[in-house]
């Protein structure tokens, strides 16, 4: 009997460990174009103590541990490149505490975005969190680990900026706490204790986030989406800039896509507004549509396509079925807003060259401080050629991001290499030291962010 499997079964229970080919097959893929790699064990722990036990065992046996949330990063970050233990964290899904006064929630890493939304709607209707618009099965832990952004990015920045505290299992098995909770106080703030932010953006190679305190924000009674369209992409930066000037919007996204054909080549804006009263809404509408966007509407450069109340979850998965192919992957970047026109034009060019209908999107982060710009490439899972085309387009887009002066958001292996090559040598050196310090046996999600070679 495989002694490691036996040890794992003792930690999490017989039913939550598998070496069956079926589990190893499913956990070898993510949903994008990354080549699959089979883990040796699929394990789904329920508590931090179980995660600790697993990590300590991994150190003893020198086998990799690969943390996995919803598995929707679409960049292969949770693909077990060097085999080992695939750690499905979705059973760690309890909502521990919601503090209305200080507007924060303490949750386990595996809580899904959908559950977070429906729980707050039902039990704390005055609060909301920055929901990333990914499929509902994406987890809160996974999203902040990749510096995700959500529908409150414009006023409040990256989701990872909204962290009040973390509980992390280090690669050597110790449990650490960061933020006010580390001194036994409540989880209300991450700062001002000495900053040890070593677990966000590292692609799960420096530790396993098990608990998060996430800032919440007021959920206004009325929430809706205004749709605005311009033909000339050159106008997008200035429009986005002006919109942020009003500080009235909750989320500003500019996007353009080839499908359906009648909208191809045109730039759309979705502008999320929220108000506690009709008066407040009317006031905001007036400032946005008359004072700010009025000139474009009057000059015919742009058009107001209406305002609809309610924020139903965008079914982003639909893009995977455009070509009945069951798949898409996208490159995300953090770009200066003024680069939108070039990103759009070059993106279209790459898509057309690879025979893929283009889909680009720029979400404003902060007060026009930056935008998350993404290029999405759909492919047909049953047609290897389209997968190859999509993979090539993705790599070309990684290059494009750096060429245009942006940085890749949640890069896959290819993108990571590009970033590491350009990284300041002293910074890179410090990252190596941090990695060696935290993960002496190199068991934490090896293959990703290979800085230590």
């Amino acid at each position: 009997m495989d002694s490691i499997r036996q040890a794992l079964a003792e930690i999490v229970g017989e039913e939550h460990v598998s070496t069956h080919p079926e589990e190893l097959y499913i956990y070898s893929f993510d949903l994008g174009t990354t080549e699959p790699h089979r883990p040796d064990y699929a394990v789904s722990p329920r508590t931090t103590e179980e995660v600790q036990g697993i990590v300590k065992l991994a150190n003893k046996e020198k086998i990799p541990v690969v943390p996995l949330g919803g598995g929707l990063s679409l960049a292969g970050i949770a693909v077990p490149f060097k085999g080992g233990i695939c750690l499905d964290l979705k059973r760690m899904d309890s909502i521990i505490e919601v503090n209305e006064k200080a507007r924060y929630a303490v949750v386990e890493c595996g809580v899904s975005q959908a559950r977070m939304c429906s729980y707050l709607e039902k039990h704390h209707p005055s609060l909301t969190h920055s929901e990333p618009g990914a499929p509902g099965s994406a987890t809160v832990g996974g999203n902040i680990a990749i510096h995700g952004q959500g529908d409150l990015a414009q006023p409040y920045g990256f989701n990872s900026d909204m962290v009040n505290g973390l509980e992390v299992v280090l690669p050597t098995g110790e449990v650490c706490r960061f933020g006010s909770c580390a001194i036994g106080a409540s989880w209300f703030t991450l700062h001002p204790l000495p900053d040890l932010g070593l677990f966000l953006g590292w692609g799960g190679t420096t530790g396993i986030i098990t608990k998060i305190s996430l800032r919440l924000f007021p959920r206004k009674r009325i929430r809706g989406v205004g749709l605005f369209v311009v033909e000339d992409e050159e106008l997008v930066p200035e429009i986005m800039y002006k919109l942020t000037q009003t500080q009235m919007a909750e989320d500003i996204i500019a996007f353009s896509q080839a499908i359906p054909p009648l909208v191809s080549g045109v730039q759309h804006f979705t502008i999320n507004l929220a108000a506690d009263s009709e008066k407040e809404l009317e006031f905001k509408q007036e400032i946005i549509w008359d004072d700010t966007l009025g000139e474009y509407i009057r000059s015919g450069a742009g058009g107001f396509l209406g305002f609809s109340r309610g924020l139903d979850r965008p079914a982003v998965s639909k893009t995977s079925d455009w070509r009945k192919g069951g798949g898409f992957e996208y490159v995300g970047s953090i770009m200066p807003i003024e680069k939108y026109p070039e990103c759009y034009r070059r993106g279209r060019e790459i898509s057309e060259r690879h025979g893929i209908p283009y889909t680009v999107l720029g979400r404003c982060i902060g007060i026009a401080h930056a935008m998350m710009f993404s290029w999405t490439y759909a492919f047909n899972r049953a047609d290897a050629e389209t997968v190859k085309q999509a993979r090539e387009a993705l790599h070309e887009t990684d290059d494009l991001v750096l060429e245009l002066g942006g940085t890749i958001w949640k890069p896959g292996l290819y993108g990571q290499k590009l970033v590491i090559e350009r990284l300041d040598p002293n910074t890179l050196n410090l990252m190596k030291k941090v990695k060696q310090l935290l993960d002496p046996n190199g068991i934490m999600n090896p293959g990703n962010w290979e800085v230590s070679q």
């Binding site: 039913e15 598998s18 079926e22 589990e23 097959y25 509902g136």
Partner: protein, 393 residues
């Protein structure tokens, strides 16, 4: 058999495995796919199951008992189809059932599924009890064999053979008698309705059962059928017509609703109780019937109907569908769907968990015992609640 001649070869790859199918329509929880709720591994989610079917049929993985159990842990509760945002969602269950058929024809299926199907081949019921005992549930009642009555009261295998479900079969008979409904039953001559057999992928056995039942119904001149089980209701309403067996079929909650509203059934005596109603998948998601049982329950004075978070098309399956009331691949843990559901009903303060399906009834009776909730939560069929309200003991 390879992927090529699999009926859904050109569709099954379109599953993106985005995980929508794990959620109820109202997004209230992450585990509304009963198999995923039970095992919480990706392979047991609907998306995982579709990817595994494609991998098996394209030869990337071999058949194994574990793969068969993953396939047969699907209770055909239709949550995935209702929730998936992609256009092929109408074929999800067909894809899974077609893969089950591949396993059935190759003969390699879990031993409990083999037993289930062999018992039906031999005795016309999944328990393997002899046919001559099928009518025993009627003993001691004045329920008559069908001879030209208005209605055939079709009981089904669980109602005929399971001790607890037999009580409900009898009670519904008494309620219909009280409402002076003209009905008869088939007793020992009643055969399996085939619904579970078709969800298990034994297509030819299903066709034989339906052809026999349709011929029997026609020989007896049956026009209208009221079924105890939503499983029978589903097959007779949606599949029998394909075998030119078009009958006027209703589930008994629909009949009770009209009897009460027409005044033929007086429930005004009523009694005090806090009740929550569990939507059975084959009545709700499969046939969009959410209101009949609720109307019946709320027509009874003194009863307060409270709803669980996951209700109507967001209901969590009791784990007894797809033959699992017998095969029971989802049993044996506090994560069994029926036990999750029993805890949910208890948590909202319900004293009675009302069901409208004999499968749900048996699954929840076991779950309430396993959870040690017998004192605080009672499982009652809607017909039993109506009986008490009409003063039938």
């Amino acid at each position: 058999m390879t992927l090529l001649d699999y009926k859904y070869a050109d569709t099954i790859h379109r599953c993106f495995r985005c995980g929508y199918c794990k959620f109820p329509v109202n997004w209230m929880d992450v585990n509304n796919c009963p198999a995923y709720a039970r095992f919480r591994m990706e392979t047991y989610s609907c998306g995982g199951r579709l990817w595994l079917i494609r991998a098996w049929l394209s030869g990337e993985i071999d058949w194994s008992n574990h793969l068969a159990e993953i396939l047969y842990s699907c209770t055909a509760c239709k949550n995935c189809e209702v929730k998936c945002p992609l256009r092929f969602n109408v074929d999800i269950l067909n894809m899974i059932i077609a893969a089950k058929s591949e396993m059935v024809e190759s003969g390699r299926i879990p031993s409990s599924v083999k037993e289930f199907l062999e018992n039906i081949q031999r005795q016309g019921n999944p328990y393997g009890h002899s046919r001559v005992k099928r009518g025993e549930w009627m003993e001691g009642t004045e329920i008559e064999p069908y001879q030209g009555h208005d209605l055939l009261y079709y009981v089904g295998c669980v109602g005929s053979y399971d001790d607890r479900a037999q009580e409900v079969a009898r009670m519904l008979g008494k309620v219909l008698q009280k409402a002076r409904v003209s009905f008869g039953v088939l007793g020992n001559d009643e055969n399996c309705d085939g619904n579970e057999v078709s969800k298990l992928g034994e297509e030819t056995l299903f066709e034989m059962l339906v052809e026999e039942n349709v011929a029997q119904f026609k020989k007896l001149g049956i026009q209208k059928v009221v079924t105890l089980s939503p499983h029978s209701y589903n097959a007779m309403k949606n599949d029998y017509p394909r075998f030119n067996g078009s009958f006027d079929v209703m589930h008994y909650t629909q009949l009770l609703k009209s009897l009460i509203s027409d005044g033929r059934l007086d429930v005004s005596a009523g009694f005090d109780a806090v009740v929550t109603y569990h939507d059975p998948c084959f009545l709700g998601r499969w046939n969009n019937e959410y209101e009949a049982a609720r109307n019946v329950i709320t027509a009874i004075p003194g009863i307060q109907l409270i709803e669980m978070e996951r209700n109507r098309d967001s209901t969590l399956c009791c784990g007894g569908g797809g033959g699992n009331f017998y095969i029971d691949l989802l049993g044996g843990s506090e994560r069994s769907p029926a036990r999750i559901r029993a805890r949910e009903a208890h948590a909202i303060g319900a004293r009675i968990l009302a069901v409208a399906c004999p499968n749900c009834l048996t699954m929840f009776e076991d779950a309430v015992k396993a959870e040690g909730l017998e004192e605080e939560l009672v499982v009652r069929d809607v017909s039993e609640i109506v009986a008490e309200a009409c003063g039938i003991m």
